[in-house]
């Protein structure tokens, strides 16, 4: 799977492109924390990308806004169908858990990362959701972030276990913990119940 696109394609990308130095980036694994979990379901990746870009523009001005939108162009339009790709920096969003993968270019990721604490709300579907982003992990590829995410979700399940109210929920959580693996070809092998007890 090509690490630079969000969708698993049978890319015609030659291996040469994957090792090109300007293709490297940093993937930030962030968690959106809201006081009310139901607002999480309103999120979509465009809203998150817009709020990230707006925060970077607010804090770092035009320089930050320019860095955020610098994407490698040119050969892409030749090799890939442009409709499939999204050029935004949000590579993955899970609305149930609030996990977001953000992609930044490697030379300036710290500067853009420093604008993330200034996000106080996300505009999604006409509503303004008060929230903040907590960065959990920085990785060089999506795969390392996925591995961290599996471990993190396993930890969250362990934290959920003492809070389960009845035996049935406990069994569900235990089964999910045992099922946590990173299987080949899948984005995540983790499937856990969207429990209301999850903190």
């Amino acid at each position: 799977m090509c690490p630079s696109c969000a969708v698993c394609l049978n890319c015609a990308c030659p291996k040469l492109f994957l090792t090109a130095p300007f293709l490297v980036g940093r993937y930030l694994l962030c968690e959106v924390i809201v006081p009310d979990r139901r607002h999480l379901l309103l999120l979509d990746d465009r809203a998150v990308a817009a709020s990230v870009r707006e925060a970077v523009a607010r804090v770092h001005g035009d320089y930050g806004a320019a860095l955020c939108s610098s994407r490698f162009s040119g050969y892409r339009s030749i090799n890939w169908a442009p409709t499939v790709l999204s050029l935004s920096s949000v590579k993955y969003l899970n609305a149930h858990t609030g996990i977001v993968f953000l992609r930044f270019p490697k030379r300036c990721y710290k500067l853009l990362w420093s604008a993330l604490p200034f996000i106080t709300s996300i505009e999604a579907r006409g509503q303004s959701i008060a929230c903040f982003l907590n960065c959990l992990h920085v990785g060089g590829t999506i795969r390392t972030c996925q591995k961290f995410l599996i471990r993190y979700n396993t930890q969250q399940l362990h934290r959920m276990l003492p809070k389960c109210k009845n035996e049935e929920e406990k069994q569900q959580v235990k089964k999910s913990i045992l099922k946590c693996t990173l299987t080949k070809g899948n984005r995540k092998g983790l499937d856990f119940p969207s429990d209301d007890d999850e903190d």
């Binding site: 006081p35 106080t120 959990l136």
Partner: protein, 274 residues
């Protein structure tokens, strides 16, 4: 794995808000937090120093810290905003209930006095206004030698744009004089949405002019040395250690008395604290 601490959570009388603040801090990975009571004495009226809250009253069961099995540790802290030297009375009896003591000087003389003389743990750098004085190397180095740290709080920067400029301006000038050592970064959060995770704060430290290692220290190692400094400050002459639960006081050997003029070795903030 480092221990992250956030030593400034503003106290509000709303208990549910305090509870959700502490739970959010535990979820983000902070092992220790301190509830801050700000005391601003005015010259005319005599005001009482607020009493520290009992942690058991505030929250029944302390939540476990993310990534660890121990519950979060909650301390009490008092910040005295000083505009006059009579505002801070050293060794006042009311201060004994608090685990951490902080002072926020507003004039250059007070800043000098706080760095060199006062028995405090933290000196706060104000973020809501342009500093009326510059940081001079002499008192800053004196404070560093005694183990007193400087604190920059960041939640004002998150709330407001002009405050953001003041925060960054004051923080950058502080970092220049103290060279990045003995600084802690903390939120002065009033709502649970104003806290940020430890890695985000480390990155904010880079914005303020700290190096990578110094920024991470500002959230972990230096905070830990502040807590230890506060504990030793409570010891009478550095030798006797009274435990709250026991009726007798057990003595700890090995530290010279503080009234010889030299701070005990445990008081100085060392770069590597095990």
């Amino acid at each position: 794995m480092s221990v992250f601490m956030d030593l400034n959570l503003n106290y509000t009388t709303d208990k549910s808000r305090m509870r959700s603040l502490i739970e959010t801090a535990a979820h983000l990975g902070f092992s220790t937090v301190a509830i801050n009571h700000v005391f601003e004495p005015t010259a005319k009226k005599k005001q009482e120093i607020p009493s520290p809250t009992l942690i058991k009253e505030l929250i029944d069961e302390l939540p476990a810290v993310q990534g660890r099995s121990r519950p979060i540790r909650v301390l009490n802290r008092l910040t005295v905003v000083m505009s006059d030297s009579s505002h801070f009375r050293p060794n006042a009896a009311e201060y004994r209930g608090f685990d951490l003591l902080a002072v926020q000087p507003t004039t250059e003389k007070l800043f000098h006095a706080a760095c060199m003389l006062y028995e405090v743990d933290i000196i706060c750098v104000s973020v809501t206004e342009k500093l009326p004085f510059f940081f001079k190397r002499a008192p800053v180095n004196g404070a560093v030698g005694r183990g007193v740290v400087f604190e920059v709080s960041y939640s004002a920067a998150i709330r407001d744009s002009t405050r953001r400029r003041y925060t960054i301006a004051n923080a950058v000038s502080l970092m220049e004089s103290c060279r990045g050592k003995n600084v802690i970064l903390s939120s002065a959060a009033e709502k649970p949405l104003e806290i940020r995770g430890p890695y985000d704060i480390t990155n904010l430290g880079l914005l303020f002019g700290l190096s990578d290692a110094d920024a991470k220290d500002a959230v972990s190692t230096t905070c830990r040395s502040v807590v230890l400094h506060a504990e030793t400050r409570k010891l009478a002459s550095g030798i006797i250690y009274t435990m709250k639960s026991c009726t007798e006081s057990s003595s700890l050997q090995g530290a010279p008395p503080a009234d010889t003029g030299e701070a005990p070795a445990a008081k100085r903030a060392k770069p590597h604290l095990t």
